[in-house]
Structures are given as C-alpha cells and as structure tokens.
Symmetry: none
Subunit: 239 residues, 4 copies
DNA sequence: CATGAATGAGGTTTCATTCAT
DNA sequence: AATGAATGAAACCTCATTCAT
C-alpha cells in the first residue's frame, strides 16, 4: 500500500472521483481547491483525509447500507488504511453520524435564509423547490438524505437531530410562507398551512423513487415539481 | 378467507403456497384454526410455522434492518429452532423477499379492484386513501412498506417486483380515475394526471415520518390525508 | 480444517494430551473415563467440550498470560472452532473466570473438611501441607493458583471470590488448629495464631518459585515444607 | 529474545546512564537536578525523559499488566509523544525489561552490604526485614517486585537475571547469617539454613497479598514481620 | 421433520511500530 | 530530537449456514 505520498499520488482511482465528488457537495472542500498546488499544508492533510473518508463512507453506506458496509472498503476507497478511520472517528456508528451531520450543516444554513424580496408566494415556493433540485437532488446530498430516510430509524439521535435542525425549522419556514400566501389570497384553502408536509412530500418521494425505481422507471423530477406547483397554486397561465 | 391448496402442494412449489398463504392477509392469523380446532392438522403445522417465521422476521427486520437482524432472534421469536428457518426458506435473503412478497400479494389484489359503483371521483380517491389507512397504515403492512423503502435499494429484484406488481399498476389505476375526474370536470388541472405520484406522495411520507419522527413529533395522518384531499379537490363544503 | 468428525477423531494432537491432562486435575472429568466407549452421550458432549475448552484455556493462559493468550489457540488446542468457545462462555474474560472458579470448587470443599480424629496439632498441619502437595502442587491446580496470583489483580471480582471462599475460610480453619495447638502446649508463641498467613506463606512461595526459577534452580518443595514444619514445631525427633 | 547486548550496542550510553540513574533509587528523582538547577542541562533532558517514561511505564504495567498496557498511555503519562519512547527503548519488551532492571540495581547493591557490626543474629535479620519495609514495601519497588512475580514467567531472561543478581545472592547472604546464628546458638534447628527461602516467604506473601486482597482485607505487614521474627527466634522477652 | 451445537469466514477494533515533518 | 499521524497485522467476537441426532 502506498502510504504517505498523498500529495503526489493519492491512491490511483481516488483522485478523479474524489475531485468530482467534492465539487458536488463534499462536506469540507478544503482550502487548496482554489489554487490546488500551492502548499500541501501539513495540518490540512488531516482535514483532507477526513473528507476523503467521509466521501468514501457515503459511497459505501449508500450502496450497501450502514450495517452491510465494510470499513475495509471505506478505507480502501478513501486511500487510507483501516486504522486511519479510527484516528478521525470513534467507531463505525460515529462515522455514519458525522457523515450525515457534516453533509447536513449546509442544509441547516439553507433553512435560515429568509425568503427576502417582494416575490409572489408562488415564486417563493418555486425558488424553494428549485433549491431542492440544485442543492440536494442533483447533489450527493440526495444520497445523504436517502441515508437518513433508510437508516434513520436505527439512529434515534440522528433522527432527532435531523428533525430539530432541518425538518422542524423547514416546516415552520414553509408554513410562514404559505400563511402569507393565504393572507394575500394567493392560495385558497388552508390545507397546506395546516400540513406543510404536503408541500414537501413530493420531494421525499423523489428521493425514494430515485433510489428504488430509477433503473426501470426514471421520473422527471423537475417536471414533477412543476406539476406539484400547478397543483398547489393552480395551472400556470403560460408555459 | 382462502386457505385451500395446502394439501396439494407442499415442499417444491414455494410460490403457490406463499400466494395462498398471503391472500389471507396476515400470516400469523391462520383462519383455519377456527374451523378445525379438532386435530392440530398435520400438514397445517408447516404453514403455521412458516407464518410464525415470517411474522417474527417482520418484527426483526423492521426494528433492526435486514443486515443487522439475526436469524437467531427470528427463530426465537417464532418459537422454532434456527435450523427450522432453513426448512422453509433458502437463506436470509430469500426469507426477506418472501416476507415482502407475501405481504404484498393482497396489495396487488387491492390494486385490481375496479372502482365500482357510480361514485364521484373525489369519493373514489377518498376511498382509496381510506383503504390505505385501514389496509396498510394501521397494519403490519406499513412495516413491510417501510422495509421496501429502506431496504429495497439493496434488493433490485424486489424493487422491480414491487414496481411492476404494485406501483406501475397502482399508478395506472389512479391515473385512470384522475383522467375521468378531469373529463368530468371534477378536477381542474392535468398535473395529477401527468404525475399521479403526487397523489401518493403523502402516503409515502406518512410511512417515512412515522418511522423517523413519531417519537417526538407525531403526525395526524388521517387529518393529513383529508387535507391532501382538500388540496387536490378544493376545500370541502361541509364536514 | 477437519470440521465435524469430532466423534471419531477430535483433532490429532489433542486426544493424548487431553486425556493425560484430565487425569491430573481437569475441572470436569467426563463420565466416559469410567468405561470410555459405552455411549457417546449426546448431552454429555457439551460437558466434554466445555471441559476441553477449559483445559486448553488453562494451558494458554498459564503460558501466555490472560491478555496475551489467543482464543484462537485455545480453540485449536481444545479441538474446537473459535465460535464454539462462545457457545460455552460469554467472552474471554468469562472463560478465564469460569476456569478459575471451576478449578477452585474442589479447593473450597477441601477447606470444609473438619480435621477429624484425635491427631496431634503437628500431625494436623502436616496433613494440611501434604494435601497442598497432592491436591495442588502436583496438580494442574497449581497453575490455576498461579493464575490467581498473577492475574488476580486485574480481576477484582475473582480476587474477592477467591478471598471469601478460600483464603478467609482457610485462614480461619488454620487459626483454629493453631489456637488448639497453643492451648495444648504443642506450640509455644502466638505469632502464628495472630498471623496464620505465616503458615501459608511458603506454599505461595512454592507456586511463585516454580513458575519463575524452576528452570535453573529447582526447589525441593516437600523438603521445604518439612523444614517449615520443623521451624514451626521445632526439630523433629526421628526421621 | 535477545536482550542483553546493551553494553556493546544500544544508542550511545544507555547502560552507564541507566546505572547512574537507578543508583539513586527512583528514576524520577534524578540526583543531578539538585546540583545544576541553573541550566536545564542539554543532555540531561534525555535522562529526564527516560526517567519519566520508566515511571509512567511502571504505572501502566502495574495496573494493566504488561500485555494490556498501552504505550500510548505510557507516553501520555510521561508527557512525551509515542514515538519518543522508541528513541529510548527498542520496543515494548525492552522498555519492560529496562524498567525492571533499573529498579533492581539498588536491590542488588543492597544485597552486597555486609551485615557489619557486632549485632545479634536476630538484630541482623530484624534489620533485613526492616530494610524490606523501608526500601521496598513502602516504595514503588514493591510494584516492580510484583511485576516480576506476575510477569516474570513470560520473560525468562528477566527471571534469570533476577534470580542470579538478587535471589541467589540474597539467599546466600541470608544463609550465612542464619548459619552464624545456628553456630552461635541463637537459632535452634537448621531448617532455615537449609531453606532460607522460608525466611523470605512472608515478604513475597506481603507483596502478593497487597496486590490481591488489600481492598477488602488489609494486612498489617510490619506486625506480620514481627510475628515472623518471633516465630523464627522465639517470642521476644520484652516489648 | 425439527433441533441446536458447531463451524469458520468475515467484520470491527486495537495498538505496537514506523517515519515524514 | 521530538512528534504524532499513519499503518496493518492481529485479536476478539458475530452470525449465517450446515448437519448429526
């Protein structure tokens, strides 16, 4: 096994995928992505490795599931030795939870963003759905989200964390927007205000569907979300 | 309830027997115990055991997940020896798939039922959602459904089976109802006709939510489904 | 690896030594030693295996020490698979403690035996020391005793068990004998009555010495014990 | 394991320094700190670190046992990095042996001291026992001695070293004293002359007892040793 | 048929040792 | 010299699967 020449090599098959991966949502980009070859950064090595492990773990957990994933494979894929994982994470479970959490932080931040501007409610919701597409669905975060859906049951702490930090806040934010829409007469019934989950349900379904049926029945998610918007706000005037 | 071909098949043909068994809904019940309390039923023992194993497996797989569930526990819970499981199922994976399939058959049948009578489209959809509640959500089938959502990814054959037998047919059936609704002017846009998944999305969400967040944020699913109906067909006049 | 032919073979190199071993103090002899080939005894197999594992464990723990001993080697030596150990013992630690306890029971019983008869105190003590020689020092129990001395520190529960069941009782019993000796004028000072440990110290030393120095400085323990007796009761008249 | 080429090889001057170090009794002390408190001492740092490691190692080995002790913990406790240990000792085993040896040197020297003066034999032995108390039992050397007793079995070279340098000489010295006592009529039988080990046995027992049973059955060692003296030389006239 | 003891591959985790910085 | 991140062999333990009874 190659050991420490990460700066020059980084384990054949890992660099390409690692780079591609990080561009689309890796937990911690690392500062060198900007210039890429300035200084190796002695202490940055650590963060780099940690990120590599997390990315590899996402791969393995996503395809195999938590229990069936082997840390051996994670290590291999990350280009590190098995023991190295334990320098960064207490155990397999901690690795999983850190993985989810680290990928979640941006989402938490996203929830915070006030829907500024004087947009129509439909536009606000539209933006929201679009952001789901660009920030999650077309991203590795989709896999993390799926992990929460599929494994969350066995990680109560994680489920609670996700609920408190993302779901509860998200629901509240959406409800406010919807309430405004109703107040402004942009939305007729109060069904959505009472159950904002209905607005989000298609997003969950996208995640689930893509994981289960995409192989033989791909779904046009953007179109589905547009249709959802139509359902909620009524048929769009022009296309 | 049908319980018939037990006598004719036995060993070889697992499929038929499985089908027969699950048409009756839940394996654990065993309706024939009512009729012949006289003799234990020599060959019925087998079916009984099989059902006990399936039920136990559902328990274990649901709480632990497929990979983490131990056949030892399944056997224990079913009141049989570990080896006995292998008299009924080829291996752990087969047990899982049989479990899902057997619990699925009734659902397949359900899809078949023509939307009899001359009901309004809203009523039809209402019936559909109600049936979800009574036949699935308040049933052990909810757990099976969750198993498909959480483990289906690792069982492509199962996912495909589920898609072909349940999802595709269900989508088609729902689409027909929705198309009729549009034709009759009971539904305005064609969003749902193009994406009947939108009608089902809240059902999935119920399953997911109940598995993850019920502990600290229970959701009133019946109310949610009524709200969904309102969203789709417009606010109900009277209650 | 040979797998299941235990009934016929039992792993080449194990039978001989196993037999030899058990004759000299194995925890549970097993019923077949009497007739040896009558019936295998289906349920006796279990006890047999357990005994084999304990004996093998004694070997390995004695030569390597608890921490350094490998269960793999224990299994090998016992002629069983690694997993089999876990059918009998919870884990390595439990195996160790069971080992010590099982070998200890006879010693506990030994402590109970009243020093019957109307023997002189010297004779009583002499018998006691002799019993140490025949029951412990020339037995595998010596190794168990050494294990207690060398590993007991890391097993407080075990140390306490040993103290309460063997040491405390032994001390009390010896003290009574010594007190009687003083009362009868067979012993001059009360040093030993106050510290019966002094009577036992040479026994401990035998164990320790045999483990450390026997290779290059063997010690004649019987002679040493006779000398000890002389020291305590005064030079013997005739030899 | 080869262990003794220290004199010829090892980094520079391990032997001299080791000897110097331990003449002062406990490694942590360092006699030179008294003299040159002025400058930290460039090369003294090395000795200081070495001593710190040895002390830390004694702690860890004593509580965990050799095999279970982690060099990580030793390093931590010594306030150095793990790698530093390897700058002073070849490996874990070498560390252990050096530890024992270095603490042993003073004891070797102790054996040498002629029992000068015109003291009674009883007084001589009394002094000997007292020295055990002050120099060993109430000292960290007690732990080292216990390490020899508990781990010596797995370190034949060490056991032999200990036997030749300490035990054999000690036995011989004691025997001389005892022979003199017999010749002078201060001691009746020749039991002790033949087995001087009997005189030392209670000392070993103290070490063993303190390690195993002190928690729930502390033993008054000074009193025990006085009783031992009484046993050997007869009840003391006055107190 | 049913049992459950036995197996052993395989997984997680530890930790002595190395070595670039 | 000192560091401490990295390594990877090795140990414990689990559990799906088999098979003699």
């Amino acid at each position: 096994m190659a050991t420490n020449r990460k700066a020059t090599s980084r384990s054949k098959d890992n660099l390409k995928r690692g780079a591609a991966r990080l561009r689309s949502g890796a937990p911690e980009a690392g500062p060198e992505t900007a210039v890429d070859t300035v200084a190796p950064g002695r202490a940055d090595r650590r963060a780099e490795r940690r990120a590599a492990i997390l990315t590899a773990a996402l791969d393995e957990f996503s395809t195999r599931g938590f229990a069936a994933a082997r840390l051996d494979d994670v290590a291999h894929r990350a280009g590190v030795a098995k023991g190295t994982i334990y320098l960064h994470f207490d155990d397999k479970e901690a690795l999983f939870q850190e993985l989810v959490r680290s990928f979640l932080i941006p989402q938490v931040a996203m929830m915070e963003q006030a829907p500024v501007g004087e947009l129509s409610s439909r536009e606000l919701i539209e933006r929201f759905l679009e952001r789901f597409l660009t920030e999650i669905y077309t991203t590795r975060r989709r896999e993390v989200l799926r992990l929460i859906l599929t494994e969350g049951h066995r990680f109560p702490a994680l489920a609670e964390f996700y609920y408190r930090e993302v779901v509860a806040r998200g629901i509240a934010a959406i409800r406010m927007v919807l309430a405004r829409a109703v107040a402004r007469g942009e939305l007729s019934g109060d069904a959505l205000v009472r159950f904002p989950q209905l607005l989000v349900a298609p997003l969950l379904m996208s995640i689930v569907w893509s994981g289960l049926f995409d192989r033989f029945a791909p779904l046009d998610i953007p179109a589905l979300l547009r249709a959802h918007l139509d359902l909620v706000f009524g048929e769009r005037k022009t296309t």
